[in-house]
């Protein structure tokens, strides 16, 4: 088992290097760099000073040299500093000689995105599981039809449109919920309980919107998994033994139907850190999606590479964890791994 683990971890290193090389190349193949933004198209900004900036950021060097420089820094886990955001560290905070702490860009955006995604994952599981089960148990009868219809609507509805409609309904017409942002202006004067309520109120719509499409997918997945399992011989056997219906459904059927979900959740681990650009822009939430999107627009290479590297490392780890969890849950797979 340990040997298997070590082998998997060892193979992640060349994979990571490969991923970073490809993303580095693609990023640099895109036309333009930090000095060619629309704001820079200004007769007051001379071409010489732009060239000077390019030299300072090593953007005038051949791309292989640039990649080498980047790899060299990564070897010491130094993600560098952002071009666009006043040289802020990309990943983690740094303290200058005067004792001023400069927070890392990812350090600040990540907790926000994690919070939203963990909340919406919880919502997804809490809602999609029961929906999927009920749907499977009442296959082709009205409850199933209603749930499937709801699920398809949820899947098909454009998130940004629904977000705006809900913002208008709950924020402008009724002032139930705040429209955008993370905290109220009075946040700092609030009692801690008030702070929690304030944050939750701000997160209610973003979490709802970001769970909606995931919810639809998972509910259908559970439904189909359940249907597959319910038609297996061992379910018939269980019923024939005279087991109560609840035991048949929840112990025999559901546990087997959930196995494929492990893979899905393993694969969703990188998704946990990648926020949604659209939702974050509409709700004015400073999360990872917005950070990445702005970095791409500004051609802020250190930030882009930092996020991609962390993202791909997490993807590989997520795969590994999913495989391990699968082995833990399914004896058949476990035997295969241990061999």
């Amino acid at each position: 088992m340990i040997k298997y683990l070590l082998k998997r971890l060892f193979w992640m290193v060349p994979l990571l290097v490969g991923i970073s090389l490809v993303s580095f190349l693609i990023m640099h193949l895109a036309p333009g760099d930090i000095t060619t933004t629309e704001a820079g198209f200004n007769p007051k900004a001379s071409e010489e000073s732009r060239q000077k900036l390019r030299e300072i950021y090593n953007l005038d060097k051949p791309i292989t040299v640039q990649y080498g420089l980047w790899l060299n820094r990564m070897a010491t886990l130094d993600f560098g500093t952002s071009f666009a955001s006043h040289q802020r560290p990309v990943f983690w905070e740094k303290t200058d000689p005067q004792g001023n702490v400069s927070k890392g860009l990812i350090q600040e955006a990540l907790p926000i995105t994690l919070l939203i995604n963990v909340l919406s994952l919880t919502v997804i599981i809490a809602v999609a599981l029961p929906l999927g089960i009920v749907s499977a148990l009442t296959q082709n009868r009205p409850p199933d039809r209603a749930i499937t219809l709801f699920v398809f609507i949820g899947f098909a509805i454009p998130g940004f449109w629904l977000a705006l409609v809900l913002m208008y309904w709950t924020g402008v017409v009724n002032s139930w919920l705040p429209i955008s942002g993370l905290h109220s202006l009075q946040y700092d004067q609030m009692h801690w309980l008030g702070k929690v309520a304030d944050t939750l109120r701000h997160l209610a719509l973003p979490v709802f919107i970001s769970s909606l499409s995931g919810l639809a997918g998972i509910a259908l997945f559970v439904r189909n998994g359940m249907l597959d399992v319910l038609h297996q011989d061992y379910i018939t056997t269980a019923r024939a033994k005279g087991l109560p219906e609840n035991t048949v459904v929840y112990r025999h059927a559901l546990r087997n139907a959930l196995l494929p979900l492990i893979t899905i959740f393993g694969l969703s681990i990188p998704g946990l850190i990648g926020g949604s650009v659209i939702a974050e822009s509409i709700f004015a939430i400073p999360g990872m999606g917005k950070l990445f999107y702005d970095a791409v627009l500004m051609r802020d290479f250190p930030v882009i590479m930092g996020i991609l590297t962390i993202g791909s490392a997490l993807t590989l780890l997520g795969n590994l964890l999913a495989d391990l969890a699968y082995a833990w849950a399914d004896p058949r797979v476990r035997r295969g791994v241990l061999k």
Binding site: T36, K44, A45, S180
Partner: protein
């Protein structure tokens, strides 16, 4: 089953807790927003910005979000008044030597930084050294490097000498925000923590900066220009324009710039919005144009350029793209300012003139396919523009008008970086639809002088007129405003005559401001609605219910 119902009760409880917490009382609807109130200090004004500043040292940050906040924190030596004339800000007065090469600024006495330290000419000299330093990562250093020598004979005098007279110099000193030497000396300006906790001298000082959420400014007790009325300015970062508008509707922000549809259709259709929002109109700082590549045939022929200019209906574009909320321009200067030549009128929409000019140039529909041609080659070209809705819509209207007189134009819309990198820098384009700013200083050497055609320079259309070159050069040496005015009026009329670009429109800025904010100049002077924002005030009965701040 049981656990199921318990959890739903919990969910209901949580929901009602959430909903209860939000019943914040609004200003009572009965409060009369329209009656006059006496001016008084205090209150909070909230606005929204689409992006977060990267830092608050404007010369390093460079983006508009940074300038918007920094302009409330820092002073320059000079500023533009409401009619866009230069007046002193930190400087009490300035003298130009007889040979026009030396400018001596005299600072106002007893000025302080917001931390109480004195603000002197040493700070000005320090700022000049920073902006011209080789290691400073600013794209705006070039203007200041023209200064041959800068000195401070005493604490209130700052003197700069140029190699040659440089007329835009005064404008450049209105654009350089003075930084405190005592806090920045010996630090790396590119990475200093000062950019995130600045100390300035203007009306406001930084109170709080929540990354990704908002910046709050509060009045600076040591302000060099007197005290502003509004106690606290909060700028929330809301990237999405639709969300900003919803926040405005819900009364969570006090002002934003509307788009023409919101301004002309949505707000007027809703009485409850008209009741609480004041709509204003100010001329924006830029114009949109269609530029020809003068190095490509047939645009080297002035008759073709003029014909196309006559064939485009500018008013139609203003009505279609801006719902009428814009003005045609005939020179690259703001209408109503001294640099704008009132005698110049845009090319009228005149199809007959266009066709006869094209006929003179040899273009006629010889083969009867509906497209004009000369020597067997049809008159067709591609209009390039970047992803900007207004420019795209303008291009479509132009395309239709050109089609009517037999010119076949296609449109290509590109992402900014590839637009500039692949087409502008290489000069590989026929026609572009783009914008330039209506600059406050009339010097536009970088855009129109024939020497500025290298890749990366800004005369990418290849305009070359010796007389214009001469005027642009003379204009740079002439510091007397009246003589400059004559020079640039002639320049603008030659430019209009040559028609290297078709002026399409200058759009209005369309601010909507909640009526709780009083003291706004309406109609807006050339400098725009915000020119006296320090005089704006929020009468106590109209303020939001705020938890007291200090």
């Amino acid at each position: 089953m049981r656990s199921h119902s318990t959890s739903s009760v919990c969910a209901l409880l949580a929901l009602s807790l959430l909903l209860n917490a939000c019943g914040q009382p609004e200003t009572s609807p009965k409060t009369d927003l329209d009656r006059p109130y006496p001016s008084e200090a205090g209150g909070t004004q909230i606005d929204a910005m689409p992006a977060e500043p990267s830092g608050l040292i404007a010369m390093i940050a460079g983006e508009s979000a940074a300038s918007a906040v920094a302009s409330n924190l820092f002073n320059s030596l000079l500023k533009y008044d409401k009619n866009l004339e230069l007046v002193g800000e930190l400087a009490q007065s300035w003298q130009i030597s007889d040979d026009q090469k030396t400018i001596t600024f005299t600072l106002k006495p007893d000025m302080k930084w917001s931390d109480g330290k004195p603000l002197t000419s040493a700070d000005v000299l320090f700022t000049w050294k920073v902006v011209t330093d080789e290691n400073t990562r600013t794209p705006y250093g070039a203007d200041y490097k023209l200064v041959k020598q800068a000195e401070t004979p005493d604490a209130l005098t700052f003197r700069v000498s140029y190699e040659q007279p440089y007329a835009p110099a005064l404008d450049t000193w209105a654009g350089l925000q003075i930084l405190p030497k005592h806090l920045l000396e010996g630090q790396d300006i590119n990475t200093t923590a000062f950019a995130r906790k600045p100390v300035g001298s203007h009306y406001y000082q930084l109170q709080e900066w929540r990354n990704g959420e908002r910046i709050a400014l509060t009045r600076n007790p040591n302000a060099t220009q007197g005290q502003a009325n509004v106690e606290r300015l909060v700028s929330r970062f809301i990237p999405d324009a639709a969300s900003q508008f919803l926040e405005l509707l819900a009364d969570n922000i006090d002002l934003m710039n509307l788009n023409p549809i919101q301004y002309a259709r949505i707000v007027p259709a809703r009485p409850e919005l008209q009741q609480k929002l004041g709509l204003y109109k100010e001329l924006g700082n830029s114009y949109t144009y269609m530029g020809f590549n003068l190095k490509h045939k047939p645009f080297d022929d002035i008759r073709v350029r003029q014909a196309i200019n006559y064939a485009i209906d500018k008013q139609e574009i203003i009505d279609g793209v801006l719902l009428g909320l814009g003005e045609p321009v005939a020179s690259p200067y703001k209408p109503g300012t001294r640099w704008s030549n009132p005698a110049l009128k845009p090319y009228p929409y005149d199809v007959a003139r266009a066709l006869s000019l094209l006929k003179e140039a040899g273009y006629q529909d010889h083969d009867g396919d509906g497209i004009l041609d000369r020597d067997g080659k049809p008159l067709s070209f591609e209009i390039l523009t970047n992803q900007n809705k207004q420019r795209e819509m303008a291009a479509v209207l132009i395309q239709r008008r050109l089609k009517e007189i037999g010119i076949d134009a296609s449109i290509r819309v590109l992402e900014w970086a590839s637009f500039v990198g692949r087409y502008i820098k290489t000069g590989d384009f026929d026609v572009v639809v783009l914008g330039w700013s209506l600059s406050l200083d009339p010097d536009q050497y970088g855009i129109w002088h024939s020497s500025q055609q290298q890749p990366g320079q800004f005369n990418f259309i290849g305009y070359n007129n010796p007389r214009v070159d001469e005027l642009l050069e003379r204009g740079r040496f002439e510091l007397d405003p009246d003589k400059r005015q004559t020079i640039y009026h002639e320049f603008a009329s030659l430019l209009l005559q040559d028609s290297p670009i078709v002026y399409l429109f200058a759009g209005y800025g369309l601010p909507a401001i909640h009526k709780r904010i009083k003291g706004i100049d309406n109609p807006a002077p050339p400098a725009g609605i915000g020119h006296n924002s320090y005089e704006w005030y929020i009468p106590r009965p109209l303020r939001r219910n705020e938890i007291a701040v200090e």
